[in-house]
Symmetry: C2
Subunit: 273 residues, 2 copies
């Protein structure tokens, strides 16, 4: 356990087996709730801290059901089925409203597995982009606090500086690491899968309201491969496939500095107008 | 309700609100259980038949927890949160084992929503391939019964005919429709998102054991757009991004014959060796 702001953001205190209390973190605040990546990482952390955990994360799907308010929340993680080498998890994040109701703010499922060494191959190879040292740091996107927790260096597809409605593509390529640097683990990798701002901003060059509805992360790397990334930059790439009547998707990849595909991710995002 | 074999495969009989009984279908049998696409469609059907349903499907994630045995099963669908225009669902498929236990065979989450007309654009456009009428029908893949329920016409990336270990890419482009033809709906679209055989077969040209662990479908089309597809072919495309120590991913797109991107999908698949 380090004293990095990220560890504080995903910290959970067990109250019984599979039931935890957590607290939103001002350092990862987004527009109307916590940064979705930090919330996804918190959901994953509930699985990783469970005493019955089998193996390491393979997939995580997080559904954002409602805007989490600043303050305390409860997370439950339940292994719904444990096989010889795979385990299926259900996770929920609940928050007590001002009216005293227990509201579901997030539902999630995860699969963990004991991996075996097999033939391996990355078909999606990292794009050729300038090294992070040669690129400017920073992302211009309102005054969102969580952005300050990342060192983002865009090679392509930065947030528009002119919101002129003249966008023509949704592709971003960006180096990312925690700020200050922090050794990569499954939780921080899950969070980084959500650092790509809504593709509709880029494609339209219009700041239309948008928010992630569902996020899926596939973990290709095991713990040893994450350790090899240490505190290095990851190269991220994100692009949309379709924008249609209130929702669009975005697909992303995260490679290590050494060019190993660590995770692929997909999300479906609400947008207005 | 038609008498098509697909309707029979996804049929659910409510026993109480959100609790249904169903039965596996010999017509959609795969190697050691039902075709995963039919199972995903069954899970979605439990949501669509629920009396409290809001809107139409936006996303569906299905986790295959265990091999469903031939016979009856129970499906539960629970709206965990209903907002003004979105609704978050939890679905499980349970089966009573020979020993009398109630085993979780599938967990799923779904998001449904009331869509509004907005600016829309397909960034992922359909590849240029020969029309289905000019291509041979059929897929050579063991004696899997479910394959006979589809008319599959490969433009590229057919199952290897020589299992010689000499594969070099995982991309398939294939026209697909129900056999016999059936008007497209959300359930059949979800099933078609899983017609792409395991990418490892193609990439390695080796028939290694493989099975989907988790499948996510994003529905870009609304019901009216599905109706426009009627009984026409869809053009599907699938490709892997990474094969690593027992698991690989595959991403897919399904366009209408008119070139509208109806759904995008992702899955993570277990493989051996």
């Amino acid at each position: 356990m380090t004293h990095h702001a990220f560890d504080q953001a995903v910290r959970l205190t067990p109250s019984s087996i599979g039931v935890y209390t957590g607290h939103t973190s001002a350092g990862y605040w987004n527009m109307v709730g916590p940064f979705g990546g930090a919330t996804a990482a918190t959901a994953l952390n509930a699985v990783l801290q469970h005493p019955d955990l089998l193996g390491e994360p393979i997939s995580l799907t997080v559904n954002y059901a409602g805007p989490i308010a600043a303050g305390a929340f409860t997370v439950t993680a339940t292994p719904r089925r444990t096989n010889r080498s795979t385990q299926h998890w259900l996770v929920e994040l609940l928050q007590t409203t001002a009216a005293g109701d227990e509201d579901v703010m997030l539902t999630a499922t995860a699969v963990t597995a004991a991996r075996r060494t097999t033939w391996s191959h990355d078909e999606a190879t990292a794009p050729s982009v300038p090294r992070p040292e040669t690129l400017a740091s920073g992302m211009t996107l309102a005054a969102l606090e969580w952005i300050n927790r990342y060192d983002l260096r865009f090679a392509q597809g930065m947030v528009p500086t002119d919101w002129d409605g003249q966008g023509d593509a949704s592709l971003s390529q960006v180096w990312v690491r925690d700020e200050p640097p922090r050794a990569l683990d499954f939780c921080s990798l899950a969070a980084m899968a959500d650092v790509f701002f809504p593709r509709v901003y880029l494609r339209r060059a219009l700041p239309v309201p948008a928010g992630t509805v569902s996020l899926t992360v596939y973990f290709h790397a095991d713990g040893a491969q994450l350790q090899q990334s240490a505190t290095g930059f990851l190269l991220g790439q994100a692009q949309a496939q379709a924008f249609r009547n209130g929702f669009f998707d975005q697909s992303s990849q995260l490679w290590s500095e050494a060019g190993v595909l660590l995770a692929t991710s997909h999300q479906i995002v609400y947008f207005k107008e």
